[in-house]
């Protein structure tokens, strides 16, 4: 019995320990090299969040650049360093939302047909590609409602568990799971429609 409780206590401690926390402290102290490694490790999911919000690939590079600049400037402001991940998620999400508003305004003015349009992908571009399935997949993902797209992209780009996604997005695990199921259903239907 004592052994079982010891194991569970150890597991709880292991679960609570976040190896990135000392890294965040070092970045707060101004260590550029540590920050560079931190960027390399987390750039993928930050980009995933941005794409998840926007449903477009073209502004992702610029917005990610902006997010990391802000992280470097404002990381010192975090009080609870163990909450760095939700903080970074919120930062990326807000930057993407701002960029989305700019992009929408630009699009209204220019009326250009771009790859990342939320509902359509230029058929001319698609027919230029032998590998149409790639475009079909990207169009299907871009066409998902943001509600479902965000956890779906996070799941695929970061490989996070339902629990981790739920923590970052601030919602129950069941909700994450339900959204992922619906995302799969919509994606399957969209790809099936594309194939017909």
């Amino acid at each position: 019995m004592a052994a079982v409780s010891l194991v569970s206590m150890t597991m709880a401690l292991v679960k609570e320990f976040d190896p990135e926390q000392p890294v965040v402290e070092a970045i707060r102290a101004g260590d550029r090299h540590v920050f560079a490694d931190f960027v390399r490790r987390h750039d993928r999911w930050v980009r995933g969040v941005i794409f998840g919000v926007l449903g477009r690939t073209d502004p992702v590079d610029d917005v990610a650049q902006q997010v990391w600049t802000t992280v470097w400037r404002r990381l010192a402001e975090i009080r609870a360093t163990d909450r760095w991940r939700p903080w970074l998620y919120a930062l990326a999400r807000n930057a993407a939302l701002d960029a989305g508003r700019d992009v929408t305004r630009q699009r209204e003015r220019a009326r250009e047909v771009a790859f990342g349009s939320t509902t359509t992908v230029s058929r001319r571009d698609a027919t230029l590609e032998a590998d149409e399935s790639y475009w079909a997949a990207m169009a299907a993902i871009a066409g998902l409602p943001e509600l479902y797209r965000e956890p779906f992209v996070l799941r695929h780009l970061s490989g996070w568990s339902y629990q981790e996604i739920a923590e970052v997005m601030g919602m129950p695990v069941d909700t994450v799971e339900t959204r992922l199921v619906r995302a799969r259903r919509l994606l399957r239907d969209a790809l099936r429609k594309e194939a017909e």
Partner: protein, 195 residues
């Protein structure tokens, strides 16, 4: 008792969140129910496609390396009988090793010696002479040539992230990024009159 939501179980299995009991339950139902089997296949295909597309276009990953990574997981996941097949290979491997020890080695395994040199000397001697200078073709033309018959091109590069520090200086961070670029097929280019 609530009916089992098999669609949810399929998604859980895809995400690696399924328990052993649920997996067994799902496997049983998949054997019985062809419609569910079709659904599972469709979900798996759509998922793999979406993951590849996302990683290549958003995260800038190399598609092939990603496929290599996911291949074992995808093949091992469905079917609880599959892990047992590995045991069948052991007697075969032992038999092959014994056979290799027993059969006398042919000369070509020696690697060096006169015979080997003689074989090399039959090659065109021009091949052994280094070519003078470096031949460079037009990069645009050569990339177009490569697109005939293939549609993907890998591009490895570095991206610089600029960060403004408190002291006002800009620090640049290099991030390695591999991209898989998709280029028009040869037929499409010919149709556009570019090739």
């Amino acid at each position: 008792m609530q009916p089992v939501d098999y669609e949810r179980l399929i998604v859980r299995r895809l995400d690696g969140e399924i328990s052993a009991d649920e997996s067994l339950e799902l496997s049983r139902e998949l054997l019985r129910n062809p419609d569910l089997r079709r659904m599972a296949e469709e979900y798996e295909q759509a998922d793999a496609l979406a993951a590849t597309a996302l990683r290549s276009s958003v995260a800038g990953d190399d598609i092939d390396s990603y496929r290599e990574r996911i291949q074992p997981a995808r093949t091992a996941a469905p079917g609880y009988w599959r892990p047992h097949r590995g045991w069948l290979l052991i007697p075969g491997a032992i038999a092959a090793a014994l056979l290799a020890l027993w059969v006398p080695r042919p000369d070509w395994q020696a690697g060096t010696g006169e015979r080997g040199i003689a074989q090399h000397s039959t090659l065109d001697p021009e091949w052994q002479v280094p070519r003078p200078g470096i031949e460079r073709s037009n990069p645009v033309d050569s990339s177009l040539m490569r697109t005939v018959g293939t549609t993907t091109k890998r591009d490895r590069g570095r991206e610089l992230l600029g960060v403004i520090a408190d002291d006002g200086n800009i620090y640049w961070i290099e991030v390695d990024r591999k991209r898989t670029l998709r280029v028009p097929s040869g037929a499409a280019l010919r149709a556009l009159g570019q090739f």
